[in-house]
Symmetry: C2
Subunit: 382 residues, 2 copies
């Protein structure tokens, strides 16, 4: 059954696309990067700063939120947008990926995943139906189907073709169940299916085709950025994106570096999420048009210059490298706070640059200029 | 030698006073509470939030800053105001108190305190002259003389009259040396002397009299809030404040709870500093007109109400107790960030209330109303 389409494609430039996705809590400009507010909070940032940085939509983690404070509690408090005060569009993952990576004693069956909470050890069952129920209780604008993801490794030591096919087939059956469970959702809310299939083109084709047959509001590419080289990830996007309907949004899950975003948009991806801007910020790293800068480095200790005097983001333009270095070295929370907002703002600035370039048909020029800036590296020490 | 006076007394109400202290980086309205930005940063707060919360002046810790990033480095970067981006009035302590409480292998002699840095174990000497030099390098608007503080204890087990007198006399000799070292400071910058003398009225009288004879821009009362009961602290203020010149600012160091501030202002104190609003915020405690509220408490888990719907501070008025509870329980940085700003804003709100009440001659009414609010306690659970 075909589902209503809330995505409007505004322009394309090669395979790159720019558009608008309308959700119950507002419009998302694509290509969009979603900062990750794991447990209902963006680490080190106020929500007003996330908004100011240019983010239209953020991601919340179903696994964390269902365990604490609990989906029923959040629903009683008016949903995740009201609960957190973010009040904008929100996508939630299904919880499945983090069950696999964070919890102990997990057991995957056809029916559900059973696991022990990493918080209090309680035994919890997460089925595709319960995942959708939880995401509906959270009030998520975009819910994700539950799937199973196989971790890839550069030498294929960690995964077999049998594993990948089994997980891909299970994910398809869970996709059908997720869609049925989502039928009662009010108009405007969306459910995305997730293409699996590891690093095997044939599996990706099967997964994409069968998901499109089931029919979703949008489609995600899952099971990438889980240990494989970038070249494999890009090859899998090239295999998958053309198999997805051009009029629906495409979301590459858990990606990535600024370089990854540029390459993936060039291959037709519309949405991304990643903890990298905030996590690397907490570790003293800044993303800039000069590439990634390690503020722990002693070269910054006496440098009164800002990270980037031409940045549109005040903290990147006004605060000295010397001060950031001091904060990072001293373990001051303010260092993590400033670098998190600087990084989220840089990611959003990059997305805006891509959207503008695609709209004006200059995406390749933008790509080359952006790559050249990163390749040139940071300004020389004084 | 008398020093220029930068303090203007605007009104008194009983012993309570309100005024204006003009520093090279701006005007401080008194009574003033100085949030503590230990190592050049307010823990969990952006400087813009400290300003928005209503703080005119903040305190920096000489001990921390001289060890990292170093006073000479901060001077080369334009001073602490430019380095941090706070850009407003700043008071620094002498470093002596934290040498005593934080460093190992300290040795106090007539000449100086020698200690090992808690950061890298380096041997450092801090004399009254070096303390002033460091504070001048930092660009502090108000420098403090170096002194020695004896920790008090309710049962007097920890301190003897001999100890207290010896430390008080040493502090007076260091006061003279500090003043000489400060002579070259440009006009407008200030040096405060510190009254010592433990919990012995006679010692406080001697210390105050001799400091006034030396002559400072302002006077601090030190060696309180170091373990003694509140009644002893208030008694010592009552002994000391009248012995200080009425036209100079009086600063009670390291104090305190909102109750302490109210009582001390009633006894003629003009300035305070304390880590309590930010430290307690990091531990899940909120200061409000209902008293102190522990957000870890399960009673808040389902409570959609804000901490105080009549607060002037947006986060105290708009964010639910349920969300704050969740953030605190989850160890999310945002919880500490929000409670720190809420607490600093409450402290500033309290100071503004006191300033207004003194100016309008209604301080006693304000005191009674404020105490009644705290005594009544938090709003009942729903």
């Amino acid at each position: 059954m075909s589902l209503p389409n809330h995505f409007e494609l505004l322009a394309t430039n090669g395979a790159a696309r720019t558009g608008r996705l309308t959700t119950p809590h507002g419009v998302v400009r694509t290509p969009a990067f979603m900062p990750v507010g794991t447990a209902g909070a963006m680490k080190g940032m106020h929500w007003r700063e996330v908004r100011d940085a240019g983010a239209d939509i953020v991601l919340g983690n179903t696994y964390h939120l269902m365990l604490r404070p609990g989906a029923e509690r959040i629903a009683a408090l008016g949903g995740l947008q009201a609960f957190t005060g973010w009040n904008g569009p929100m996508l939630t993952d299904s919880g499945g990926f983090q069950v696999m990576s964070l919890s102990d004693l997990r057991k995957v069956s056809e029916k559900a995943v059973t696991f022990r909470s990493h918080i209090d050890g309680a035994k919890v069952e997460l089925s595709p139906e319960r995942s959708i129920e939880v995401q509906r209780l959270l009030g998520s604008d975009i819910a994700m189907q539950m799937d199973e993801c196989v971790r890839l490794s550069p030498d294929r030591s960690n995964h077999s073709i049998t594993d990948i096919e089994r997980a891909m087939r299970l994910s398809l059956r869970w996709a059908e169940r997720s869609k049925r469970a989502f039928e009662s959702a009010p108009e405007g809310y969306m459910l995305f299916g997730i293409v699996q299939g590891g690093d095997i083109p044939e599996m990706r084709h099967i997964s994409a085709r069968e998901l499109v047959d089931i029919g979703f509001h949008g489609y995600a590419i899952g099971g990438l950025a889980v240990g494989e080289p970038q070249s494999v990830m890009l090859a899998m996007i090239e295999e998958t994106a053309p198999a997805l309907p051009a009029d629906r949004p495409r979301y590459l899950m858990g990606v990535g570096t600024p370089e990854d975003l540029l390459e993936a948009v060039a291959r037709g991806i519309d949405m991304f999420d990643c903890v990298m801007p905030t996590r690397n910020g907490r570790h003293g790293m800044a993303f800039t048009r000069f590439g990634q800068i390690n503020l722990r480095n002693a070269r910054h200790a006496d440098d009164p210059r800002p990270l980037d005097e031409e940045s549109e983001w005040p903290s990147a333009r006004n605060i000295s490298r010397a001060y950031l270095h001091h904060l990072v070295r001293s373990g001051e929370t303010l260092g993590a706070m400033l670098l998190s907002e600087i990084n989220v703002a840089y990611y959003q600035h990059l997305m805006q640059g891509m959207r503008d370039a695609i709209a004006s048909g200059t995406f390749e020029t933008f790509q080359n200029k952006t790559r050249a800036g990163w390749a040139k590296g940071d300004i020389p020490p004084r």
